[in-house]
Amino acid sequence: MTARRAGRTLHGGRVAYAILVVAVLVSAFPFYWTVVAASRSNADLAKVPPSLLPGPNLMRNFEAVMEEADIGKALVNSLIVSGSITVGTVLCCTLAGFAFAKLRFRGRGALLAVTVGTMMIPPQLGVIPLFMLIAELEWVNQLQSVILPGLVSAFGVFFMRQFLVQALPDELIEAARVDGASSARIFWSIVVPIARPGMAVLGLLTFMAAWNDFFWPIVALSSQNPTVQVALRQLGGGYVNDQSVIMAGTLLGTLPVLLVFGLLGRQIVGGIMQGAVKG
């Protein structure tokens, strides 16, 4: 940090630290409470004063929720769905982002404008025709009904375009062309290696968004073939009355993203801040 940064470099005082620590506690408390509630019995949760420390029932509640909401299948399904969406989105967006960033062609401005213009329109507004479409294709309750629409990410295209505009020098592509490299070769051996950091960040953000997506999966899937969010909706829908079992399900469904976040939180923070400046 010896280089001069833009922005403010004043030292934080005690008050600043105190407020930030409180904010961190508020952010983290619901997670802690999930662990507490998931490891207790339902009767414990109805006690006054409430117990604020984890109890011994975690495994029992895990077993109960596996049985009642099929969280195991939901986890596998969520992994398949989020994994496919992540790989597919990153690939599609890198291809399109590269074209928008570095290639000249007719209709470039118009196509980019359509992409960016729809970035702000919530996909939730299109669920009715989308549902009619997958009903027509007889995809209801099948994972591809969530995966395919999940691949559409106007934000991703824009993000990769912004990344490649800066990261990929024009001369590199020109030189490869002069050497007679084919378009496919240029993409795989020049664009992709340079795009990799951007692809990684986009992949992380996409994975989390896909894992947490709610509206469309509960419309397209049911409890017979659920993702984690569909299973959680079922848990919260009144079929299960045991609060500690519900919390055990919540914990199981959140752990995978928390794991990703724990390992790569720094990159995710960086990605969001980067996207903010560029977006």
């Binding site: 403010r8 407020i19 997670f31 967006c93 919530p122 479409l133 509206f215 959680l232 909706r233 519900i246």
Partner: protein, 316 residues
Amino acid sequence: MTLTAPAGKAAARRRPSAARRAWRTVSPYAYLAPFFTLFAAFGLFPLLYTAFVSLYRVELQTPGDMEWRGFGNYAALFTDEFFWISLRNTFTIGVLSTVPQLVMALGLAHLLNYRLRGRTFFRTAMLLPYATSVAAATLVFAQLFGRDFGLVNYALGLVGIDPVDWQTNTVASQIAVSTIVIWRWTGYNALIYLAGMQSIPSELYEAAEMDGASRWRQFFHVTLPGLRPTIVFTAVVSTIGATQLFGEPLLFEGSVSGGISHQYQTLGLYMYEQGWGFFHLGRAAAIAWVMFLLILVLVGVNALIVRRRSRKEAGR
């Protein structure tokens, strides 16, 4: 747009150099094809077709049968008391969740912008709620806001406040639902603001310091003006998010009606209730279209306010 590809290939066999040139004009479209194919089928088509569907009677069990209704779905909507209730709720919950969220995010970003020990830790911890799903967060908060055994009421009891009925009381239930939104998005917005603050040139602060401006004045006279585009961005994104709020009110008590007397049902939830609770897909499409127009109006109002404010400032 990809129709020209075969022609390009035919030319390739005749003259290699022309082929290369032809491929060069065509290949950009090949890069775009995967995205735009999916985009057309699963993004653009559903959005536009929503307007069309909203003019028909379509039932969930038989989505293939469409019966022309003209503006009947809209008429039915505007005479339904629950539509107006959910519109009002969307607005009040939107204000209750967006305003405190953005103000607190701004404050936190200001603090995060100081030189801190453990900055990465603070930033990451702040973003933790963003990593949880709506479903998980809402289930936990629904528990915390329990009327009889919830931790929130217990904590209120410790300071001598009577238990609040966070479910049936209209204002209380809307505050509870808004709390979930605020909890999930404040840290995210704080990081966006922080990114904006870091791109404000430090010379501006140095100049302000030389003029003897306090930290507080610097915040108002350097940070806030420099942050205006970012603030507009977050305001627009949060407004759009608030307009389509769905998961929180659905899972708060698990019912599609958003409470016994619809006291916290939002437009998003009302749409889901019409479509997947009562099987009226056509009517649900009409609601979606109303939501879309609402978003356009709100974003437009936002733009107007910004333009007027910057004009005022320019005239100062």
